[in-house]
Symmetry: C2
Subunit: 199 residues, 2 copies
């Protein structure tokens, strides 16, 4: 932009946001300059703080600015004996929003993918084994994604649980509540049938 190199820089910096191309970045830059400089300054400072201070919880590996996150520090959750294993912090958030789970988590930050050089160590399984050894865990709930890699990862961790005589379970896959049968893909339908329960 001839009239403001700094504005060009701002537009280009905004494209680091996912789903934001040049055109929306332009719209955002003008909007902030014209109508919300205060919000933009606030965003600038929070962005900086978040990137500098948010690391991984030393216990469950989710994102947190504390050494150990609040979920891991919660006494009742620690005593529950339930450990839920997920692929990402977003999954923790999704589960927390349902308020159905009251145990602790372990976040793999990915899944096993030998072809990409992601083995057990890269997804923190030695740290997980450490927890198996030091905590009294009754049940491990495997909530990895229902993808090929997610299933393989769940299977691998289930074997690990076996070694430590810890019960392992997999979350149920099937027809989503409110979903219409005719629109569900075949794979999910197969899961729904094989996972059927007596009424």
């Amino acid at each position: 932009m001839k009239f403001s190199p700094l504005l060009s820089e701002l537009v280009s910096a905004l494209t680091c946001l996912p789903g934001v191309g040049n055109k929306s970045a332009q719209r955002m830059a003008f909007h902030l300059l014209e109508r919300n400089r205060e919000g933009a300054l606030k965003l600038s400072s929070v962005l900086h703080n978040a990137m500098e201070h948010i690391r991984h919880c030393s216990r469950c590996r989710t994102f947190t600015e504390q050494p150990v996150c609040d979920i891991c520090q919660h006494p009742q959750r620690q005593d529950s004996g339930l450990l839920c294993i997920v692929e990402s912090p977003q999954d923790v958030l999704a589960i927390e929003q349902t308020s159905t789970f009251n145990g602790t988590y372990f976040v793999l930050m990915g899944h096993l993918s030998p072809i990409d050089g992601i083995g057990p160590q890269e997804i923190g399984l030695d740290e997980l084994e450490q927890r198996f050894r030091s905590e009294s865990i009754q049940e491990v709930i495997l909530a990895t994604n229902p993808t090929v890699e997610g299933e393989a990862t769940a299977h691998y961790i289930a074997q690990l649980c076996n070694k430590y005589h810890i019960e392992a379970s997999r979350i149920a896959h099937g027809v989503p509540v409110g979903g219409e049968l005719e629109y569900i893909d075949g794979n999910t339908l197969t899961h729904a049938f094989s996972g059927r329960r007596k009424l």
Copy 2:
């Protein structure tokens, strides 16, 4: 977010961006933390600089971090005797991208809207008159939007030009190049007919 108040703060700060609701802000925050902390830190610093340093050009009122923008400082543009009047800096950008205009601009930062208390002074018309007096302007091109307010503003400024014996012209409105007649709204079609030229 129980596991990270700072992450909640980041999500909420990101919603200052136009078109970004809670859900996309969440997606953005996780994306930056997981995959692009460097880009986020860069964005934080550019945002801060832009909001602190980008003000209005003292001559044309467009956004710039200099006292007078590069367009206004350009000798050939100054000598052109052409002054284009637009409502916003985005309009300057759109016109500059076509490379069809080689004069200078005046940015109203809005349009006349008596009902909202926006009169001639609020859109900088005394500064504009100052330029009419001090510069040798041959023609003022009125490129305000083809809305009721934009037309009224163009009309008002045309009268001002008249007072200073400066020629005023209005950009043509009609069927967009490549546009199909059947999809053009009636108002535009009316403009296209009344603005017809002999071939």
